[in-house]
């Protein structure tokens, strides 16, 4: 077989494969995006102590999330989207479409950034949901923290970590862990921001007055626990201007 045949063969194969793959990617993209959106909605609702399934997540989201708000570094609301009427009250950016990871990167690079948050209203609860994003040792940690109307006490939280040592390792996506956050406070008595962090060996190790700012860390996942602590500190810290307004 001649070289030119090999080249022609390879070229045709590459073009064919490229066409098939890109059309498949294009056709399936809307479905994939929808799945990602549903996962994000579930994360937000789970932080508000609801348990939506993949099927009713969208409906529950529209029922309970009243507003999506985008704020700037000065803590000013620059965009408000009313979920029920599907209309913008202010600005043109939906918080749901803001990628927190990218914005945090902008922040650490010293560039301009925006931050998303969500208003949750149900019969029993009115919560302000703040998304968080950061790193464990292996892979990203993400989740949501819901604050009560005093903008200090945590009403619910939920975290995810895609990759961990199977079985053991940090189980920060377990409910026993995230449920500990309920009732903890992110500001101290004098109104100073102190965040909430996982404490190795248990929150009981802290002095009495500090216990309201700590939860039990997961065993065997020191780095992930520390990573989560830093993440919460870092991300909530960015919202402090807004929260104290």
């Amino acid at each position: 077989m001649s070289n030119s045949y090999i080249f022609r063969y390879a070229a045709i194969l590459v073009v064919l494969v490229a066409v098939i793959l890109s059309s498949a990617a294009m056709i399936l993209k809307p479905l994939q995006d929808k799945n990602i959106a549903i996962a994000k909605m579930r994360g937000i609702l789970e932080a508000c102590n609801l348990h939506p399934t993949a099927d009713d997540a969208v409906q529950m989201y529209e029922q309970f999330i009243s507003r999506e708000v985008v704020i700037n570094p000065q803590g000013e609301e620059i965009s408000i989207y009313d979920v029920k009427s599907k209309e913008f009250v202010l600005g043109t950016t939906r918080a749901f479409e803001v990628d927190l990871k990218t914005q945090l990167k902008h922040k650490s690079a010293g560039e301009d950034y925006i931050l998303p948050l969500y208003d949750f209203v149900s019969q029993n609860d009115t919560l302000l949901v703040i998304p968080v994003h950061g790193r464990g040792l292996w892979g990203p940690i993400y989740g949501n923290i819901a604050l009560k109307t005093d903008r200090n006490t945590i009403g619910g939280a939920r975290f995810f970590h895609d990759k961990e040592t199977p079985g053991l390792g940090a189980e920060i996506d377990q409910y026993w862990f995230s449920d500990q956050f309920k009732g903890k406070q992110i500001f101290d008595g004098s109104g100073k921001f102190v965040s909430v962090r996982p404490i190795k060996g248990g929150a009981g190790k802290l002095p009495e007055s500090q216990r309201i700012h700590g939860v039990d860390a997961v065993s065997g996942g020191t780095i992930t626990s520390n990573g989560l602590g830093t993440t919460i500190d870092h991300v909530l810290g960015s919202y402090v201007v807004y929260l104290t307004k």
Partner: protein, 205 residues
């Protein structure tokens, strides 16, 4: 720097390619009958892993992730080539293996004679592609970390195959139930070694 060392240690002992993820089991079981060949294959894997993981990291960062192409033109910010990552990674691995083979052959015939036969085997070793895919999944932050991860995961794999080869050499003289000989006992031994390796989970890093 400290982060890189953590990743290095963790990828050898805790997230060991064989004991935690079972990657590269085919060659692990097929080429572990003698320590000498196991050492050869182990070194070749470390070698290829250290090269392919960082190269694929660059490829991923500057080509495949959504918006990665902005360095060519800002208009390409919406392009998402992520669906091509499998095919790109395997292409890089196959060509890197070929390249490494040619370079070694040219500059160090002695090394080529001892490693040469293993190199083609490596292109389809799951541990190599696995390393690159984990690199993408775990979103390492910089080049140094990917080198640390490549070195660590390769070393972990080499350690595993050398250890099992040593055990299999000795076990020749043991009286194992007949149906368990060969493959069966190798699996069970690997399982026991994996349990032993789990004790490393306690390392505080």
């Amino acid at each position: 720097m400290q982060e890189s060392i953590n990743i290095f240690v963790k990828s050898i002992f805790i997230d060991n390619m064989i004991f935690a993820y079972f990657l590269g089991m085919c060659s692990y079981l097929a080429v572990s009958k003698s320590v000498k060949t196991a050492v050869g294959l182990g070194i070749a894997v470390i070698f290829v892993q250290v090269i392919t993981v960082p190269v694929n990291y660059l490829l991923n960062k500057y080509m495949l992730t959504p918006g990665a192409l902005t360095w060519i033109s800002p208009r390409l910010a919406d392009v998402d080539l992520n669906f091509l990552s499998f095919i790109m990674f395997i292409a890089v691995i196959a060509s890197m293996v070929q390249l490494v083979e040619m370079i070694i052959e040219k500059f160090s015939p002695a090394l080529y004679n001892s490693l040469g036969i293993f190199l083609p085997l490596i292109a389809v070793n799951c541990a190599i592609l696995g390393g690159s895919l984990f690199m993408q999944e775990w979103e390492f932050e910089n080049f140094g970390q990917t080198v640390a991860f490549g070195l660590g995961s390769g070393t972990g794999w080499a350690l595993a195959i050398i250890a099992i080869a040593a055990i299999r050499e000795k076990i020749r003289y043991s009286d194992i139930p007949k149906p368990l000989r060969g493959l069966g006992i190798s699996f069970i031994l690997t399982g026991l070694m994996a349990i032993a390796f789990m004790s490393f989970l306690g390392i505080k890093i």
